[in-house]
Symmetry: C2
Subunit: 258 residues, 2 copies
């Protein structure tokens, strides 16, 4: 869905990978032109793996951002009445995000599963009408199952942000309106505050701050920051140059349209 929000469905081939790492590797190896990876969900938060992979694959750039609305559905064998259901499979996030609906059916046993679409594949394979899954309408269709209840998520304000990643920066038609960067700080009072003050001093609005552990250095962190870019001017470039003098291991991840 994210791919076809940014690319023409008739001119673009979407290639699935088993893992996020696989997507990054394929972009790096030029097997694919662009990668599309989820970076954050409005309810569940950051998709940590992809923050770590952005750091690890330091030759890649974020070239665009898009958002997809997430809807959860109760899925089962076609024709199954709700009264026949005994177990409901989904990713723990799918179960958590449908908690109000599930609590209205205390007779169902929620069963955590590795992923949402995979839980539909599982119940389709078993073929037992007492088993249901919570996943997208697309997953229901792919595995020939039926939507028994639509839009069962407790909170409808559920979106996922995706980053389009590439080996080369791509000039945008319009002025980029967002930038992502990553840096470390010293372990001393005020270190992070000093870094963030640079953005404030140049009137740049920080839209997101995420911290991720540094591997092999327990309780030491990399900070990922998204900043809104003004339509004109070079405040961001000036701020970035200043940030270099106070932050450690600063890197620009991309300037793009969101």
């Amino acid at each position: 869905m994210a791919v076809f929000q940014l690319f023409d469905r008739n001119k673009t081939k979407a290639v699935p990978y088993f893992s996020f790492r696989g997507v990054f590797e394929a972009v790096q190896n030029k097997t694919i032109d662009f990668g599309m990876v989820p970076i954050e969900n409005a309810l569940a938060g950051a998709i940590d793996d992809n923050f770590d992979l952005l750091l690890e694959f330091d030759g890649l750039h974020i070239v665009a951002e898009t958002q997809v609305r997430i809807e959860h559905n109760l899925i089962g064998l076609p024709g199954t009445p709700l009264s026949a259901i005994q177990k409901v499979y989904s990713h723990p996030q799918g179960l958590a995000q449908s908690r109000t609906f599930l609590e209205s059916h205390p007779e169902w046993e929620p069963v955590p599963f590795y992923d949402t679409a995979g839980s539909v594949a599982h119940i389709a394979k078993v073929g037992d009408p007492s088993l249901a899954a919570i996943a997208s309408a697309e997953a229901s269709q792919v595995y020939g199952m039926a939507i028994l209840a639509a839009g069962v998520e407790s909170n409808h304000q559920n979106f996922t942000r995706f980053f389009q990643i590439a080996l080369q920066t791509v000039p945008t038609k319009d002025h980029p309106n967002k930038s992502s960067l990553v840096f470390a700080t010293a372990d001393e009072p005020g270190a992070l505050s000093k870094c963030l003050a640079v953005f404030a001093a140049h009137n740049l609005n920080m839209k997101k701050l995420e911290s991720r552990p540094i591997q092999g250095r327990p309780w030491d962190y990399m900070f990922y920051v998204d900043v809104a870019l003004p339509a004109t001017g070079d405040q961001f470039e000036v701020a970035f140059a200043e940030l270099k003098t106070v932050a450690k291991d600063l890197r620009l991840l991309g300037k793009y349209r969101a």
Copy 2:
């Protein structure tokens, strides 16, 4: 393991719950005296659910912190040679954290599973020597399985921080050396920087900053901060009072020994 680092094994009953929510509810309902929940792993990062639950269960307090070293092992049926293995089950984090070891055996298929101990239970139940799991030595013992290779994690600097939570604050024998708090900010340039500057102004060292989405307000965040407390003085209390004037929805989660 975390429970028995803080409590006498002979005088304390450890009660398992199916979910982190279950632990919080049991503390709230006084079914148990204290809860012990993981809050952060040095490699994988924050355990998001527990940050969200600390916010939701606003009558509970963090009363202590402890760290447990995490070791991963390759586990299988007793007597199985490594050459017989075809599939290796574990939580995606268990697989990711043992990547170097797994890559030295490209003939094995890694299979993501809901949790590490659960993957041992699964292979024990199936009883097929071609199936192995990556999990703790405790899980191997509980399910009567054998450790086929010990310490297979790529990075041995792997620890998990746990919070002891309680309905009432508990006076500590020694002066508390850490505090956790949570707040929101306005969506304007410099809002977070202004909040963090309060700690810097009082020479308080921030040990950790975690952002979590606010449910129903996409791309709006709560910030969780851990601060090291000085051995004497009231800098923290003064800073907290000041922070009230710049942050929104500020709440103290606890002052404790770490």
